[in-house]
């Protein structure tokens, strides 16, 4: 396969001038020493080499959490959703908070892969594979919750339009039905997009695998990829088309998720600002999660040559930008509550800030608005540890934001006689922790079994570096 690839000119690559970013940052996308071989070797060795001990340790933790998830689900199915803290009026609790949170996290992958691909942001190359995988796993986690939160989860399929003997269709005015379509479409397109991107790399793994079993498995998954020009041409076309398809989905999924709230008339939910506000929040939390995953991996697998400080810096910038969009959403919510002159809206806002859950609201503002202001400093953006901390704060903050929206709005709505508090039970927490376990388990398996950085695309970068004028079309 390697003979098909253009031969790198070693002499030229070593004397490459330092790449300047459009903003003039002297940060390279790739360490200067990287060659086709080194890239292929380094990335595929992670998959084909021995299992590191630390990986086993991490996997054990993740897997334990996954088992906790299974126990929590088992007990849930046995007893009913009453094992959670939900009640009337707070009929939606952690399950919906978690759902929205995970869906939000699932936004960065497609955003990085598709939108940044379309706008020729080459720096996406080193991280897009990982973030796409993250998207899939996050959406998988998210997808669990709408099913689990049902009173009778065994009949969840009634929400799907299928010809049945009862002659019944779903009720298409309900945002929950739109949700199903939005999430399912997003998951499908993301999966196909991810898989198509993987095919050349799977072929590389097939070629480099030493054992028969790996050769067969990777070979089957590579679907006969031989790297011919025709293959490349079709692959690139398909990839671009899927990127085009995925781009509107990034915007639509969370818009539709936000309809779950904005279509309802609950003060604090019933707001036209929700779709853009949710999308911005989703990208915000998605990038925060990317950083939380990439920074430890980069350190552990010594991938600093691929995921450089420039990547960190760029992602920090995106966090700062989306963070302000989210902050604008918060400001507008408060403003509109006041501007509406509606007693219920006004009370909702006052209660959000000063009511029994007020401290959570202030925690949210601190985590999502105050802490990320550190990203104005380039030193923070390029310091892995500081960036990791800020991203973690944002991740928690975004979870808290959904809690404020879901629980904070429901617990005190129209009639004070129905007001109540919501207190999560141990099973609420177990389900949240368990879903993180599912996510991490899938992620650990992914980095062990598949190349977490796109080998072919990084090789493309090397090609471009060697022939700056000869830009690849895809």
């Amino acid at each position: 396969m390697s003979e098909i690839l253009p031969k790198p000119d070693r002499a030229k690559s070593s004397e490459t001038r330092p790449a300047l970013s459009p903003l003039g940052y002297p940060l390279p996308l790739l360490s200067p020493g990287e060659t086709y071989e080194s890239v292929t070797h380094k990335i595929s060795a992670i998959v084909l080499g021995r299992t590191p001990r630390a990986w086993l340790g991490g996997f054990a933790v993740a897997f334990s959490l996954l088992m906790l998830f299974l126990i929590a689900i088992g007990y849930l199915l046995f007893r009913g959703v009453g094992i959670w803290g939900i009640n009337i009026p707070v009929a939606w609790g952690f399950a919906i908070v978690n759902f929205v949170w995970w869906i939000g996290i699932g936004h960065a992958g497609t955003f990085i892969s598709a939108i940044l691909l379309l706008v020729h942001q080459k720096w996406r190359t080193s991280i897009n594979r990982l973030t796409e995988a993250m998207t899939l796993f996050a959406v998988a986690c998210a997808g669990m919750f709408p099913l689990l939160h049902l009173g009778r989860p065994w009949v969840f399929y009634w929400i799907i339009p299928y010809p049945d003997t009862m002659g019944l269709w779903p009720q298409f005015r309900s945002p929950l039905v739109w949700d199903l379509f939005a999430v399912f479409t997003y998951f499908t397109v993301s999966l196909v997009f991810w898989y198509i991107g993987l095919i050349p790399d799977l072929a590389t793994l097939r070629d480099r695998a030493k054992t028969r079993r790996k050769q067969v498995v990777y070979g089957a998954l590579a679907m006969g990829w031989r790297g011919s020009a025709r293959h490349w041409q079709r692959h690139q076309t398909a990839y671009l088309i899927l990127a085009g398809l995925a781009t509107p989905l990034v915007l639509s999924v969370h818009s539709v998720v936000s309809f779950d709230f904005s279509v309802a008339l609950v003060p604090g939910w019933h707001s036209t600002i929700f779709p853009p506000y949710f999308v911005a929040g989703a990208i915000y939390s998605g990038f925060a999660m990317v950083l939380n995953i990439v920074i430890p991996l980069r350190k552990f697998y010594r991938l600093e040559t691929f995921i450089t400080k420039r990547h960190l810096n760029n992602m920090g910038n995106i966090l700062l930008a989306t963070g302000w969009m989210v902050a604008y959403g918060y400001i507008m919510e408060g403003f509109m509550a006041w501007h509406s002159g509606d007693v219920f809206e006004e009370y909702m806002m006052a209660n959000r800030a000063l009511g029994p859950y007020g401290w959570i609201f202030w925690a949210l503002l601190c985590l999502n608005v105050v802490v990320p202001q550190a990203l104005w400093s380039r030193r923070v953006r390029t310091s892995p540890l500081l960036l990791f901390t800020v991203a973690l704060a944002i991740n928690i903050g975004m979870w808290v934001e959904r809690f404020v929206i879901v629980v904070g709005s429901l617990h005190r709505d129209f009639l004070p006689s129905s007001w109540a508090m919501y207190s999560p039970t141990i099973w609420d927490w177990a389900t949240l922790a368990g879903s993180i376990g599912l996510f991490l388990t899938l992620l650990f398996l992914f980095i062990r079994l598949l190349p977490m950085i796109s080998i072919s695309e990084v090789r493309e970068l090397i090609l471009e570096r060697s022939q700056p004028a000869h830009r690849a079309e895809g």
């Binding site: 007893r79 009913g80 959703v81 009453g82 094992i83 803290g85 939900i86 009640n87 009337i88 009026p89 009929a91 939606w92 939160h149 049902l150 009173g151 009778r152 989860p153 009949v155 009634w158 929400i159 019944l168 269709w169 779903p170 009720q171 005015r173 309900s174 945002p175 929950l176 039905v177 199903l180 779950d260 279509v263 309802a264 008339l265 609950v266 007693v343 219920f344 009370y347 006052a350 000063l354 009511g355 029994p356 859950y357 007020g358 401290w359 959570i360 709505d413 129209f414 009639l415 004070p416 006689s417 129905s418 007001w419 109540a420 508090m421 207190s423 999560p424 039970t425 141990i426 099973w427």
Partner: protein, 980 residues
Amino acid sequence: MNSTWHPKYWRSIHNLSGEHRASCRNEFPPGASEWSNPVTRRQFIELAGGSLALAGFASCTRQPRQKIVPFVHQPEGMTPGEPLFFATAMPFDGFGIGLLAKSREGRPIKVEGNPQHPASLGGSSAFAQASILSLYDPDRSQAVIHGGQISNWSSFQLALYEASIAQERKHGAGLRLLSETITSPTLAAQLRAVLKKFPEARWHQFQPVCRDAAREGAKLAFGEFVEAHLKLDRAAVIVSFESDFLFAHPDALRYAREFTTGRRRTGPDEAMSRLYVLESTPSITGSMADHRLTIASSEIEQFAGLLARKLGIPGAGNVGIGPTAWQRFINTLAQELNANHGRSLLVAGEQQPAAVHALVHRMNDQLGNRGKTVVYTASAEANPVNQTNDLAELSEEMERGAVEVLLIVGGNPGLTAPADFEFAARLERVPLRVHLDIERNETADRCHWHLPGLHYLESWSDIRAFDGTVSLIQPLIEPIHGGHSPHELLDMLLHPPPRLAYDVVREFWKEQNLWPDFERGWRRALHAGFIEGTALAPKNVTPRFSKGAEPLTASAPEQPQARSLEVVFRPDPSAWDGLYANNAWLQELPKPIQKLTWDNAVFVSPALAARERLRNGDVIEIDFAKRSIQAPVWIVPGQAENSLTLTLGYGRRGKTAAGYNAYPIRVSNALWFARGALLQKTGKKYQLVSTQDHHELQSDERQIVREIDWRTLQKNPGALRATVEAPPPSETLFNPDEHPYHLNKWGMAIDLTACIGCNACVAACQAENNIPVVGKHEVANGREMHWIRIDSYFRGPPENPAITHAPVPCMHCENAPCEVVCPVEATVHDREGLNLQVYNRCIGTRYCSNNCPWKVRRFNFLQYANYQKKEMEPVWNPEVTVRWRGVMEKCTFCIQRLSAARISAKKENRPVRENEIVPACAQACPADAIVLGDLNQREHRVNRLKASPLNYSMLGQLNTRPRTTYLARLRNPHPALTVA
């Protein structure tokens, strides 16, 4: 108009006091986040064993013993699948409440008020509604117990026979009978026969919620025991001296109807009655007051004396001058009472001392009310006695060893007797103790013999209502656990072998020669549920002024010592005197006003709580009369500052309800209240669960409950029309005529002026619609299942707020917000405008509940309906689906009743009649506050109500166009007492 629209409402004293700041920091209430609902191994085995054993029992059917004849020819009037109604009566505190019991395939499933019965007028109470559950209660006494071991009736009969032979020789010198208040003519005749056979035997009566003060007061005023009957619909000014006549009175159902008749006003030219209430702890009657004076129970005597003096009535004694705060109240009252000669009515509370009753009788006489708004009759009781003295005598005899055989016919004196009688201990000195009751209670455990009694739905008897009307109690089911009624027990004493209760009652009435043709008369009486013409005739009595020269009232009480408080005892609205402590429906019913469930608490005033730094659930120790108990406190707005109110009937071992027992500090000279209690904090906490706490309502701008002064409405009949309602059609995209509803168009109107907040509707709904009980833990989680609830809102200062009740069922919105969000069309609209819930289509997203602004939807978070408990199965209404875990449910306007009415109307090719479509809540309401009807039939009463200027939609501004609307609460405050 504006003055009506700027009241400040609030829901919780906790928030008003600013304490909520602290609790804000504490995100989750203490204990709320623990998972404290484990099924322990022991519990599991207990339950498993129980279910197994009961599974065996369930296969045994209950067939009558005497004769079983299959239906060869279908009995006349019986169609399988159609309910049958039988008139019967429920004994409550000795007096009868006429009921119609609904029987399905031979099992009673629901009771309704008997519209023809004078003590019901078609209404019923929560107690009556929940009594059906007591019938099937598996914890009922099921077997004869002798010395703690299961025995049988023949052994008992032998023992009784031996004892009666011995007593007969002594002319019954050692024989004593103890019963609760008896009004049953048959039972009274039997008791007299017993006393004739055993001339030296004695019959004593005692019940904890006794009416001794009323009896003594009447005796003081008139020289004889007479009962005062209130004619509330005729009174223009009503003054209650701590009388809860709308709830805690033998004739409360009738009073509630008559009182609200005098209050319901639509036209501007009618007069409206005005109610003044003086009380120490907020009651249902107090919540209906136009002016409520918060006053310690022990101060009411002084107040009555002052008022009497002001009215120029002798006998007030040295009452002092009273606090200055009373002056304006007394002056206004005196002026109003004098201005309404013959149209006012003063009522003394049954818990007030005899002097207050006597003064009230005199004032009523002086004001010309006698014979007009208050009518006197002889007592309906068979033998009206001072029960406290009666029991004192018995316990003293027991102490002396004079009692050899004691038959306790009903009741639980071992628990409820005044603590200073040490009744339970003295009981041990009686050589043969026999106890007959429906439950094996504390007294049963101290008796040699315990005999299972009968529920009123399984026994023959008769009983008199408060006005004397005799009701026949006819059974609807063969005794489930094979007990016997008091008639049969007494008959064992009289003529062994005993007759059946049916024969005893029937023969008694046959001897009365009431009817020329006994069979016809008897049948008619059974059919109607009461014997016509048995009401007591009014008695012309005059107060004896000559003898009343001595002051009736004690001299003005001296200032209470520091830290000395007043204890006030009250029957509990859920447990009464303890009789209903095991009734889960009643226990889960949020108590009126405080909305507590499953427990009782000591009610303290906000001021006392602030002084003693008490918070809800703090356990205090109350020292009173050299005795002490520990109990949790609940801060109640409107409570008198230095009064601690304790409710009876809780803290009973092995009962469903928890709580604390107040009886140990209730002594004979302080049956209802007394000063001199000390309060001590223990530092312990107890979780009290309320369905409507921790809320604050910062402004009235929500306009949830609307109220208006009668005078304001008279001046401006459109005053309420100007308030927020649905937007006009020009401003909305919703087409109001999208669905024409050609056939029936159901609508409901709830009159907030009439609703007294008594919970009868909630209990009736629970019984009708198979609503499960979820238990204290789940209520604490906010998961109670009641389809209709009563919201109580307070307005004004926490020391003395105005209270408004609002029953909230499903609004059945035409633009229902719940319907659009359901992903599977499990909640849909029907062509009659009902918002339906399709249980077997529901997948449980709970989105509909989130989108319901009234939060009337209820969700089966767990498997609440108990399919395992087979012995409770007969109580379920076969016309209503029992809901499975994971589905949403809510008020249906009793669609099963609507369907039945529609079917019969269709068969007869006529429109549905108004009286056919009465939902359970409306049927139970003693005040007739809830009306359902067809909006397409103009003559239906609901249309008239909806056309009233008081009609409004709760949260109408949301444009969901609710079919349930409210009539604003009318108040009639006196201008001189209205706070500027």
